[in-house]
Amino acid sequence: MKPHRFDPFSFVVGLAIAVLGGMLLWGDLDVPDLRPSRLWPLPVFAVGLMFTLYGVRRLVESMREAALTETEAWAETDPDGSNTLEQD
């Protein structure tokens, strides 16, 4: 398997379907349980979770990029590592 960056869409849709499958398997659902007035929080939660995870992913990636840029800048100003503190 190729390594990929985290995909919130796959994660949230998969999780939602897995929860639905579990509910159908063990939840003893009936037709009245499927009224829109009862169900509407679930898709809202899924969409909200997806946006949140996309946001977290972007935040983590930007922090990683910032850290990488800082390291590269430090390496450019001190290519031979002579400014590195040596401990006794």
Binding site: V12, V13, A18, L24
Partner: protein
């Protein structure tokens, strides 16, 4: 990740079906669809981290409606399909009847006043008609998942049953147990007939019939 997940899902279902056929446990088509959704969902969620498989959403979305319908309608094709008329003459033993799809008529008009007992009826999809005489005490509970409950007050004439005295229709099932009855006739033993009627999709029609001779 996608082929791996699909493969695991199919293997799990095949094994469960084989075990079911061997008598280990009951495994219905509804459970198979729900289990396939569970496995594919877990696979896709894991695919969010490694080996992404977005295309799994397509088979899952195709399976969801079938799984929902099969699960919430409680339709077991072994219950039969078609038109049934059941005439109950005595309630010495509890009566239980099921129909997967079609119309079922349950006739209590031959019950003696004062009779007591239990009647359980389930119709998956279709119409359930209950002919209940007004001289027995009845406690009716149950539900209509998607559909209506119709109560019809009627009178028996020589030509059969016809509506005469009122009609009420409500969406859905019985929010409260319905209890009625003119009570047992003088000299008979008091009793209550408890009817549990459930229809997943369709309607329950209650014919509340006056058995006394027409005036």
């Amino acid at each position: 990740m996608g082929p791996l997940t699909l493969g695991i899902g199919l293997v799990v279902i095949a094994l469960a079906t084989l075990l079911s056929l061997a008598g280990a446990f009951a495994f219905t088509l509804a459970q198979a669809a729900a289990m396939l959704l569970l496995v594919l969902g877990i696979g896709m969620a894991v695919g969010g981290f490694v080996g992404r498989a977005r295309w799994l959403a397509l088979p899952m979305l195709a399976i969801v409606p079938f799984a929902l319908v099969l699960t919430v309608l409680h339709i077991d094709l072994d219950d039969g399909i078609g038109e049934r008329t059941i005439t109950i003459r005595t309630l010495d033993e509890p009566v239980e009847r099921r129909l997967a799809a079609g119309d079922m008529t349950v006739d209590l008009l031959n019950l003696r006043p004062g009779e007591s007992g239990t009647v359980n009826i389930h119709v998956g999809a279709g119409m359930l008609t209950l002919n209940i005489p007004d001289d027995i005490t009845v406690e009716l509970t149950g539900s209509v998942g998607l559909g209506t409950t119709q109560t019809l007050h009627s009178r028996v004439t020589r030509g059969g049953v016809h509506a005469c005295c009122g009609y009420a229709e409500a969406l859905g099932g019985f929010a409260q147990p319905i209890r009625w009855g003119g009570g047992p006739r003088a000299g008979s033993v008091a009793g209550t007939v408890r009817i549990q009627a459930t229809v997943s999709v369709g309607a329950v029609r209650i014919n509340h019939v006056n058995r006394s001779p027409s005036r």
